[in-house]
Symmetry: C3
Subunit: 351 residues, 3 copies
């Protein structure tokens, strides 16, 4: 667990999340923890009623909790912070107690930086990094060991590039972006034209734009556009090993779980939620607010409307469930048909 900066009082933490303190506001807190394992000087949260019993037994120095719990439980912990959304408050308090690692401005002597690159004075550049011609890196950005940045790349302020990230030439990264280990932005899209005897590469000469506050998981790949640009919108979060094909346009505040694969020229509008291992054919449009369950498969060219979708190929979740229930009756249905045939036969004989 990362070391906290310095302990904070319950009063200070409550003020940060506009919560009401019940109990001793001077109790000191130095770490977030789970209800079950939290101990002295640690803070935990309880949101769902089904964890109220666990919360009563918790040895945390402070509990973040909703009003109904606090009124019920006054005295169960040295201090409470009463808020409407305890989990959100817990996340915001964790940001204070466990801030992202800070690095002093520094350039490791082993870094290979092109003379024409333009680095803010406050950047951190770790060992074995390489940065190409005319690339630009903004204030406070941290580039960890072994990152490779091509030519004419633009990276904003306060980004973190974890070890082994690869940025091909001519891509653009916004402010506050977090790229986990090995993220690859700007590799050639997968497009070929079959000639008489072999495949020729369809031109992959477009760009990629990653907007502000995006976070990409380890080894997630965002391919460069054939022509034009591939885009990941502001505040969007992708898990590990997601594949985003050429010319995709992913909107703002989209969440995509691990190992999902998105073919070329797919549009996913703002605020969609996509499960893990989902597969998208090309030229799909997912309308704002759609939710697609894990392992779903979507046929090329499909328009996915708002609502919850499931299955291969996708159906509305309700229909999927209904069909699945019917499927379970198949053995019984076969038996019934057999019986009907027999009975009918008997009736006929009587006739």
């Amino acid at each position: 667990m990362t070391a906290p900066l310095k302990p904070q009082s319950v009063g200070e933490l409550a003020a940060h999340v506009s919560g009401r303190v019940v109990g001793n506001e001077s109790v000191l807190i130095n770490a977030v923890a789970e209800l079950g394992s939290a101990g002295e000087n640690e803070i935990a949260y309880v949101e769902d009623e089904k964890f109220f019993e666990a919360a009563k037994a918790s040895r945390a120095s402070c509990l973040i909790a909703p009003k109904e719990f606090v009124s019920l439980m006054n005295g169960a912990a040295p201090a409470f912070i009463e808020v409407a959304k305890p989990k959100l408050a817990f996340a915001l308090i964790a940001e204070i107690l466990h801030p992202q690692k800070r690095r002093q401005p520094f350039i490791h002597e082993s870094a290979a930086i092109a003379k024409t690159a333009d680095l803010d004075l406050t950047v951190f550049i770790g060992p074995h990094v390489s940065i190409g011609d005319r690339s630009r890196i903004g204030a406070g950005t941290r580039i960890e060991a072994g990152v490779t940045i091509g030519d004419h790349v633009s990276i904003g302020r306060d980004c973190v590039l974890h070890p082994g990230v690869v940025l091909y030439d001519n891509v653009t990264i916004g402010d506050g972006v977090i790229l986990h280990a090995g993220v690859c932005v700007g590799a050639d899209g997968f497009g070929y034209v079959r000639g008489d005897v072999s495949y020729h590469k369809f031109p992959q000469v477009g760009t990629v734009v990653i907007e502000d506050d995006v976070e990409l998981g380890a080894y997630t790949c965002v391919d460069r556009a054939a022509l034009g640009q591939t885009r990941i919108g502001r505040g969007t979060k992708l898990d590990n090993m997601v594949h985003v094909g050429h010319n995709c346009d992913i909107g703002e505040r989209v969440v995509i779980a691990a190992q999902t694969g998105i073919s070329g020229s797919v549009t996913i509008e703002d605020d969609c939620v996509i499960g893990g291992q989902v597969g998208f054919g090309d030229h799909i449009r997912v309308l704002s607010g759609a939710v697609i369950g894990s392992k779903a498969g979507i046929l090329p060219g499909k328009i996915v409307r708002p609502g919850v979708w499931w299955g291969i190929p996708i159906q509305p979740l309700d229909e999927y469930k209904r069909l699945n229930a019917h499927l379970g009756h198949l053995p019984e249905m076969r038996k019934e048909i057999k019986d009907l045939k027999k009975q009918l036969e008997e009736l006929r004989k009587k006739d």
Copy 2:
């Protein structure tokens, strides 16, 4: 977008693809572009009739188009190149206007190269590369930053190894091969023998051969053979994050989309096309010319004949569609059976 070498005239470009110029053959072109966004000095293509209207509205300086379109549209653009296969011509022209990045022969001072390695004088070796004992690299090959090449590796001419590629010991790479970021060739295959209390590694002491003109997408992994060799045939193209298990034999001009996983000892013959997220059990043989749809699953030992296949487990696409149509009738079938039972009951009572 990569900068073009120098503008080319429509006449020069047409000659390159054996096309006929209609209009002004001295118009200069410096970039390929999409129909919709193309402007002055740019060239676009139109192949499908459904884009003829968009092509008429295009502001491209030159359009590559089939005969029927050119005769229809003479005058809509300053120049046309008339060819039978416009998309292919567009790809070939893009190769001229946007050639792959060239690097002058160079070895970065930070590269760690074994004394016994044998490098052609014309290679480019970027920063933080390491090359092991007795490895050999051919003329014109470009090794980008952070690539690791083991011992006794052979790499041909005119290859490009993008940042972070890892080649284990004893693997062989042909001529004109492109390996995108983080491609891993030669890691141990996944094979264990259960002993009394734990697993023992089945020997993974074979090799990998990647033939000429292969392109492998970012983080694609080709495992070494247990015994013998794993092979990727000439001109084959794999997308990002494809897994190729030990002892697989992938033929020539095979195309495999992203995130497909291929278990050990699978053979895929020449000219097959495989979608994304497909899963192969071990010891499968896919016969030349088969096409397997995305997300399909193929059981171990299966022989897949030419034709189009779909589903889990795979079926011929026609059968899959038929079965899916029947599935949609399940609710109705259950109702019909109920009705039949009721009617039969009534008939019996009458009896």
Copy 3:
């Protein structure tokens, strides 16, 4: 193929696996090989009766075989090693003939090692490695080129970290662990809380523990716990590109094939076997001894009992097969219902 240390006699090899020599025990062996391609001074194995014919034709200098084969075939090869489990004996003998690459203790001059790091004198550190503050590396461990190790990481004895491995801060690796190229341990788990306008990161401040004798395939990712720890138990083997989410607890001697994805807080107990491309929802518990087929999907919160499971969502394999068989009868069932309706109609008319 890796060069063997030195030839061994059949007698020495037999002693190592407690096997009985039939034939000439002084025959020298220098490599393992497949039945079909084995030649002089090579050893192959035959276990299954269906390969007895191939074994008879083998030109191997020694065959490892079960009693029934040896008694049948005396004389077919210069020497036999008779054992109850030939494949296991073959694996054990391969460990002797093809030992893992040994590296002399060495630290490459390009490695960037924090002053506060604590390295055993016998470690091998390749080029372009970086090791953070207060990290500790045990005796005989081999760190290949381009590996990045964060702060306060603990690595045991006799491990191999292949090129490009990334270990985030505060993770713990046991003894005898093999991490293939690009394995990523300790990246942030995927957890966010939706605020009024955007997502906030749920704290990802826990750790990861990888126990002794674990092997992880290329680009496999094991995320750090939100709070608490993510664990991979002793002797467990994961293939390439497996995703293990935050707070997962994977037991001992578990085997997981390539591209499987495991969501947060999943428990997989000892001795389970999981196929490739399987998807796990969160908070699943897989009980010891369960086997889950490739491409299966398991819904969140599910408890998976011992036995063989298949499909999306998973069912016991027997039920899955039965249901699939019924599915195949759907077209026929529809026809039967139609016939029944017609016959019933006729009966009624007669009435």
